[in-house]
Every structure is written in C-alpha cells, then in structure tokens.
Amino acid sequence: MNLNKQIDGAFTGRMDIGSWRGAYTLFKKEILRFWRVAFQTIASPVLTALLYLLIFSHVLESHVQVYKGVPYTAFLIPGLIMMSLLQNAFANSSSSLVQSKVMGSIIFILLTPLTYLQFFCAFLAAAIVRGLMVGLAIYLMAIWFVDLPIVYPLWIVVFALLGSALLGTFGIIAGIWADKFDQMAAFQNFVIMPLTFLSGVFYSIHSLPPVWQTISKFNPFFYMIDGFRYGFFGKGDISPWISLSVVAAFLYGLAWLALKMLKSGYKLRG
C-alpha cells in the first residue's frame, strides 16, 4: 500500500474550487458542439428565415403597411430575425441536454465539480451565442436586399441578448424535463412554435381583433419581438420599457426555476 504517498500532479483538495475554468470548458464544448454541425444549426435556420422573407414580402409587400413609411418587407425582417434567434437559442440548450441525457453522456458533466450555477451559465451562454449568430447572419443576408434602418441600436442589442437568454433558459428547463426526443418535439411544436408565430412576427397586434390583442399581451414573445423591432424603427405596439420589464421579469422567473431544478438535481441526480 502507498499510504501517505503524494501522487504527482493529482488533485489534493480544494485547490481548484471556485474556479470558473470548468464552466468555461463546458461553454467552449457547447459552442463547438453546434459549430461542428453549423450547416444544420446556423445555415439551415438562416435559409428558412430568408425563404419566409422572400415569400411573405413577395405576396404582401404591396398589400400591407403596418407602420407608416415602413415597407412590409422591412417591418418583417426584425420579426424574422428575432423569431429565429429565439428558436435557436431554445434549440441549443434543449437539444444538447436531451441528447446527452438520452445517450447517457450527461454523466461526464454530472461527475465533475461544476456547481449548478456554473452548469446553468455555460449552457445559457452557448445558447445566447448560437441565437445571436443566427440572428446576425439573417440580418447580414437581409440587408443585401432591403434597406433597414436602425434607430436605437441599444434596444436591439438589449432585446437580442435578453430574448436569447430567456429562450436559452427555457431550453435548459425543457431539456432537464424531457426524457425523450418526442417529448422535446412536443414542447417545441406545441409551446415554442405557437408562441413565436402568435407574437407579431408577421403583423402588428393592432391589426388583430380585440380579444386576440388581449391574448397576445400574455405572450412574452410579443414583448421580445416588439421591443427588438422598436430598436430598428423607433416605433412599436407598446413602449419598449414595458417590453423590457416584462422580458426581464420572465427571464428572472425562468432562471429561478431552472436554477432550482438544477440545484435539486431534478431528473439529473436521483
């Protein structure tokens, strides 16, 4: 036996506790994970958004004007950018988690000294990066075809960051909750998709009947898209400050729930 023998280079106690190096590694791994399949995770949503843009602008450009002096195609672009950004931020954290749970590779993370907060931050940051990359790619492609103003760039950045953070957090919750891919698909198709489509991506809620206007105001996606669009045109269905408050409140609530789930080990540790 080798009692009291110092193992060269082995961990000997608390030396690395408190370090965020582990969380940074997890973040880097998550970035690399989606980047390795960038055709599917970046190029594909950009193409989908551009197809929406092509078809809707072609069909509706001469028939619809939501804001005075703003062509419909220009109105549509921020909505499409935000829709794709939100969907991809959600997809990143949720698919990574559910896939590693189904394949069992989540164990490699659960065995590490990463805290629940570090776990959360790493997955969240990667989701934000993917959301922003998709959003930026759509923007850069769209401005080739459409003259898009930017009135308040700070609002654009704030809502892009908060939106991707909110959906990244939502994705973490869904990824922890779902045990199978079909549960995740149900979550995506029956929750995320309707909330995005019914949020004013393609229209102003003022064009809806009063009942649907009221219902839309319970949809957090509406506030993210309206606030984001306000940054481009200086106009929106609602004050950006109200949107900011609602989005921040939702983000706080979901982050609290996600952290509580991670802290308790819900569906991750028995």
């Binding site: 080798n2 009291n4 193992i7 961990f11 106690g13 490699f108 659960l110 065995l111």
Partner: protein, 318 residues
C-alpha cells in the same frame, strides 16, 4: 487517548483521512431498499474490490460516491470530503468509469479527454498527462478518431481514459472489463496497477472474480444491499474457501459424499472441503464403496468459491 489524538494529527493528513468513508448509508427507491446500512472504509492506496451479484447495490453505492444519487440516510466522504455538503472537493478527488458504454458523438478522443480535464479546472498544463493516458491505454492511433467511430473495446478504453483525465487520487472502475477482449484487459490492468503503485486508490467492481482475486488486496461482498463479507482477499480465502478435491472415479460418487459435491460430470467430481482432514473421510468412504480413484488433485479454493458460499447459493432467499 489524548496522546493518540495529537500523535495522529502530527502523522499527517494522508494517513488519517481514508480514501472513501461510508457510514450507515441507506438508499431507498420507493419500497425497494437498495442499500441497507452500509459501513465501509477504504484506505488511501488500496486496491479494493466491491463484489456482488446483479442488484446487490454495488452501482448504487458507486453512484452515491460519485454524487449521481443522494443517500436516503447516512454519509459518504471521498478523501475526507462529504459527497453532499462538500461535493466539489469530493468530485475533484474522484474519477469514475461508468458501466455503460456512453460517449459524446461530436468529438474525437483527445478533444473529449481535454474537455473532461477542463471540467475539473485543468488546462493546457494537463495535456501531457492526457497524452500519457492515451498512450498507456493504446489509444494513440485513435486519438483523432470521432468517438462514434470507435469499436466497443476502444470506446471502453476511452471511457477509462476520461475518468483518469484529471488525474484523480481515487479511481472507481464499475465493471471495466465487461465484454472486452484479453488484450485490453492486459493493457488496462497494467496501467491501473501502475497507477495504484504510484499511490492512487482503486475501487473495482467486476464479475470476473479471478481479476478481483489477482488484483484486490481487500474485498467487500455485497448481497441485497448489505455487506456480507469484508476482509483481505487472503483472509477470505483462508477463512471461507477451504480446499477443493478433484477426483476421477470409475463409478458414481458414493451418496455419503454428496453433501461435499461442488460439481461433477463425466466421472470427474469436485468436492469442497472446509478442512484438510476431510480428505481422510473422503478416502475411507471411497474404500468402503470399493471405488478406484483414477486421478486425484487437491487445490486451493478461489474467490469464486467464497463468493458462491456467501452470496451465490441463495440469491432469492430474501
């Protein structure tokens, strides 16, 4: 007592702190009592075997050590760090090779190992160790191969390498040789023995009892959530295993010897003897029956005999 206390403190941290300390651990899954009051201490530098049939609670115990499961009751510490309240320090000191062949399909072997070390706070300074692990486990040719494309045996090696990537002082191997070829076993045990010689504590669960007998200084045998034997391998063999007497006879074994029969076919019978002087009794019974002994061998019983006598005979007795 006072002197002993101060003396212990002076001797130093490593001697006083066990690698693993398990105190009155219970784990219930609904009405199932998976672990029922486990007490166990594994010292630093030991090569320790945790044996038992499927469902005995070995993996549950390992999962509690690793923080994958929480004990319903009781305490577990790794190198003196409680796995619940001081989990970061406990996990820093532990490397676990899981039983299932799990892998991340997006990365190659070297990337996975570097990521794994990185989760434990280790950076580029650890790359040399990662390369050593890759080489020692015969993974050099596959270092840049995607995990998805590795064969089962290679995936098993990569899994072992992942547990070692942060160079933990305590290494748990949960059925590491299940379904792997002889070559890998030799490579793997060579490397693990080297790590043990360097001071790493090794905890092994295996179905291959000859591996445990060869490698482990001490073993615990579990059955239905309890430890039914805990001793050095040598003591267990001496106390419980006794001797085996193999006979080749020209006719059937006399009925008076049937209580000793361990197995018998084609005229070759193996009798389990608890004491050496039982040989005389066997011979007299054979003489009485006027049987010819064509061949006879007396040999030491092995860990499998101990295992069968403690846990194998009546697995469904509960």
């Amino acid at each position: 007592m006072g002197f002993r206390f101060y003396n212990t403190k002076l001797v130093g941290h490593a001697v006083t702190i066990p690698a693993i300390h398990i105190e009155q651990v219970h784990k219930r899954f609904g009405s199932l009592e998976a672990l029922n009051g486990i007490n166990l201490t594994i010292n630093q530098g030991e090569f320790f075997g945790l044996l038992g049939p499927n469902g005995a609670g070995k993996s549950t115990l390992i999962n509690i050590m690793a923080g994958l499961l929480k004990p319903t009751q009781g305490k577990v510490s790794v190198m003196g760090h409680d796995v619940v309240h001081d989990y970061q320090a406990a996990r820093l000191n532990l490397g676990v090779v899981p039983q299932e062949l799990v892998f991340d399909p997006f990365f190659n072997v070297r990337e996975m190992l570097r990521f794994q070390a990185g989760y434990f706070g280790r950076g580029k300074e650890n790359d040399a160790w990662v390369d050593e692990v890759i080489e020692s486990l015969g993974l050099t040719d596959k270092a840049h191969t995607n995990m998805r494309k590795l064969s089962g045996g290679m995936k098993r090696r990569a899994l072992i390498a992942q547990a070692l990537a942060h160079k933990p002082p305590v290494i748990v191997l949960d059925e590491p040789t299940a379904g792997v070829d002889v070559e890998l076993r030799q490579i793997m045990w060579g490397f693990i023995k080297k790590l043990n010689a360097e001071g790493h504590t090794i905890i092994l669960t295996t179905h291959y009892l000859e591996e445990a007998e060869t490698l482990c200084e001490r073993v615990a045998m579990m059955k239905q959530g309890e430890i039914v034997a805990l001793d050095t391998t040598a003591n267990l063999l001496n106390k419980l295993a006794g001797k085996n007497l193999r006979l080749k006879l020209n006719a059937a074994l006399p009925t008076s010897l049937l209580p000793l029969l361990k197995n018998g076919e084609n005229g070759i019978y193996t009798l389990a003897l608890s004491e050496l002087n039982q040989v005389e009794f066997v011979m007299s019974e054979l003489r009485k029956a006027k049987l010819n002994v064509e061949d006879m061998q007396l040999f030491e019983a092995d860990l499998e005999d101990v295992f069968m006598s403690l846990v194998g005979g009546n697995m469904d007795s509960k």
